[in-house]
């Protein structure tokens, strides 16, 4: 996955075939069917608004900020988040909130306040195209190609995880699940383009919120409220030899041995809080594309900032179920199905809680919410893929003089082809799980250093095309070398690292991953600076206007009411995130 979240969902349903079966009734099927009908219907209604390729790929740059903001987090609210964060909540407790209050929020504020003016203002149609304007063709090509491969792969993994999960908890046919989910996504994107994807993400957002909230409330009520949960987690963490670790976010980050993540505060703050999350939220076209669909610069800048508000509260919906699950197991009367090695299968937290607390009716809603999260993950990737392929590969290298109508056709054909490749990836994931792990690892190498060239590109005008391109290669090579020389304790050399000879050891894979990101970023940053200084600038100041901070006219927010100014919203959001960190310290 081209995301920085820690859990592999490829094995979401593995090992649970006989342990957890949800029994659907007619009403549940009715709810599911109604949802599918609306999802397709939205695309169908929107088809008449598609007149140009800008409408298809960029929603005609016409959407209000609140719609883009919900699309911004909706596209990210894939299964990896819903299933994966619940699993992490069970494995690590409140500390999982670092992925939100340290990881996502500061990066979302940074992209809204500082970076969006360059993305939106430069009139680049995609993130790779920004790299072309700012640096050169080869840097764009590197980013476009790696991004295109990653998106179809991620979409395939989502599809595979959905089919595997439905097969194991509902007994549905794997092939049928793949066919139905891909055809529905295909229809609503081909007919309605990016607007349809974003509208459906907004719908999916509310469905996930309203579908998971009752689950959390029932779980909380069952365990005796927040105090009851804390009491059970105290007992659980003591039994794991790390007393208190599940109910505090920072208090046990002083040493890698004191918390189940196996990480200390510096690696966490730098690796996750800075390199990985800024790398994802500030450079990944999947999310940036949603903000670039906004109707004007103000709306584009407010998109990530408004998105940060619900994002900050998501731990209630996605992490709390995991904490409740281990608390309820500790209390008795609730069980997680075992995985193949006999340990609880944490990926089954949400399905197991659905089975426990939702009667038919609400069960249909919960299941629809789960389906919505998988489909939003797939659609987000597919829309980003069709745009990058059409603009940055097809129009740039294959047919420069393509007409607008031709580009739209290419976009539609690319959507079909992208989904077909995703289906192939899903079957490949089913067949060869190791290859998928390997690909995820390679994407990690490529993504880790990415933020360094954006940071230098936007805020240091001396950065050159050669500097950025070779800096990226150095960063990727640093990540590979780091991985090859390090290993999590207790793991065998191979896909987990140490393939060049393990010289340094980490308490967990997560710690190794955070530190790898820090090294990759450092390598790329230093490499880009050194090579830029050694090479001649390849762009004039005139060409860099609107692309670099020092050469771009500052945006004045004088006409905007104070509460709608990006800087004000950003400060309020950051302050709220700090307060949350302190409350759950």
């Amino acid at each position: 996955m081209h995301s920085y979240l820690p859990v592999s969902i490829a094995a979401a349903g593995a090992g649970t075939v006989h342990d957890l079966v949800l029994k659907l009734a007619g009403v549940d099927y009715l709810i599911l069917g109604l949802y599918f009908a609306f999802v397709i219907g939205i695309g169908w209604v929107l088809r008449k608004y598609l007149k140009t390729s800008t409408d298809f790929f960029e929603s005609g740059r016409s959407l209000p900020a609140w719609v883009c903001a919900l699309g911004f987090i909706g596209a990210n609210l894939g299964a990896q988040e819903v299933i994966g964060m619940a699993a992490s909540g069970a494995k690590y407790g409140i500390a999982t909130s670092h992925f939100y209050w340290v990881g996502a929020i500061p990066a979302m504020v940074f992209v809204g306040v500082f970076m969006m003016p360059f993305y939106y203002g430069s009139k680049a149609r995609s993130v790779p195209e920004y790299l072309k304007l700012r640096f050169d063709e080869k840097t764009r090509a590197f980013n476009a190609l790696s991004f295109a491969v990653m998106t179809v792969f991620s979409s395939g993994i989502s599809m595979h995880a959905l089919a595997l999960l439905l097969q194991s908890i509902l007994g549905f046919d794997y092939n049928l699940c793949i066919a139905v989910s891909s055809i529905i996504v295909l229809i609503y994107i081909v007919t309605g383009g990016l607007t349809s994807a974003i509208y459906n993400e907004v719908l999916q957002f509310f469905l996930i919120v309203l579908g998971l909230l009752p689950l959390v409330l029932l779980g909380l009520q069952d365990i005796g409220g927040w105090n009851g949960l804390m009491t059970q987690l105290q007992g659980y963490s003591a039994s794991k030899g790390m007393p208190g670790a599940w109910s505090h976010s920072w208090a046990y980050m002083g040493s890698t041995k004191a918390n189940p993540m196996g990480i200390e505060w510096f690696g966490l703050a730098m690796g996750l809080g800075f390199v990985l999350s800024f790398g994802y939220w500030c450079t990944d076209f999947l999310v940036i594309q949603r903000a670039m669909a906004a109707k004007d610069m103000g709306a584009a800048r407010r998109t990530p900032l408004l998105a940060a508000v619900p994002k900050m509260l998501f731990p209630i919906l996605v992490i709390l179920p995991g904490m409740l699950a281990v608390g309820l197991c500790q209390k008795g009367g609730f069980q997680l199905p075992p995985s193949a090695d006999g340990t609880p299968n944490y990926n089954m937290v949400v399905p197991a809680m659905l089975a426990q607390y939702f009667p038919n009716g609400m069960l249909g809603i919960g299941l629809t919410a789960l389906m919505a999260s998988f489909m939003s993950g797939m659609a987000g990737n597919v829309t980003a893929f069709n745009t990058v392929f059409t603009y940055d590969i097809y129009q740039s290298y294959l047919r420069k003089d393509a007409t607008d109508a031709h580009l739209m056709t290419v976009g539609r054909v690319t959507t079909v082809v992208g989904l077909l490749i995703s289906v192939a990836c899903a079957y490949a994931a089913r067949q060869y799980n190791n290859i998928m792990d390997m690909l995820q690892l390679v994407f990690g190498f490529v993504n880790a250093p990415l933020f360094a060239i954006f940071l230098l590109g936007m805020f240091w005008r001396r950065a050159t095309g050669h500097g950025a391109f070779f800096g990226l290669l150095i960063g990727t090579a640093s990540a590979m070398a780091f991985h090859g020389l390090t290993l999590p304790v207790g793991e065998a050399a191979g896909i987990k690292g140490g393939w060049l000879g393990a010289h340094w050891f980490f308490a967990s894979s997560m710690a190794q991953n955070f530190w790898m990101a820090i090294f990759a970023f450092g390598g790329c940053f230093a490499g880009t600076m050194a090579i830029s200084l050694a090479t001649a600038p390849n762009k004039t100041d005139e060409q860099l206007r609107g692309l670099v901070y020092s050469l771009t006219e500052k945006i004045r927010d004088h006409g905007t009411p104070w509460y709608a100014r990006p800087a004000v919203i950003g400060i309020v959001v950051l302050a709220a995130a700090i307060v949350l960190n302190i409350i759950f310290w």
Binding site: I42, S59, S62, Y199, L210, L218, Y357
Partner: protein, 67 residues
């Protein structure tokens, strides 16, 4: 001018809410004892879904009038 996203969303939540309320009224109370701590969650959350859907439709209508 695009389709106002609040219209399809409002309609969907309204319909889902009504289905839940309807099912909550006719379903066997034993399923709530077995699952949802004795509470008829279909009725409660069906009501919330219905109100949310109706609210969205209302806002969409007001938005259109304002334009």
């Amino acid at each position: 001018m695009h389709l106002d996203v609040r219209i399809p969303m409002g309609l969907l939540f309204l319909l889902l809410g009504l289905i839940l309320v309807g099912y909550g009224l006719v379903s066997d109370p034993a399923i709530y004892v077995r699952h949802s701590l004795g509470q008829n969650v279909n009725l409660t959350w069906g009501g919330i879904f219905t109100a949310f859907g109706a609210g969205l439709l209302l806002f969409a209508r007001r938005g259109r009038k304002a334009e």
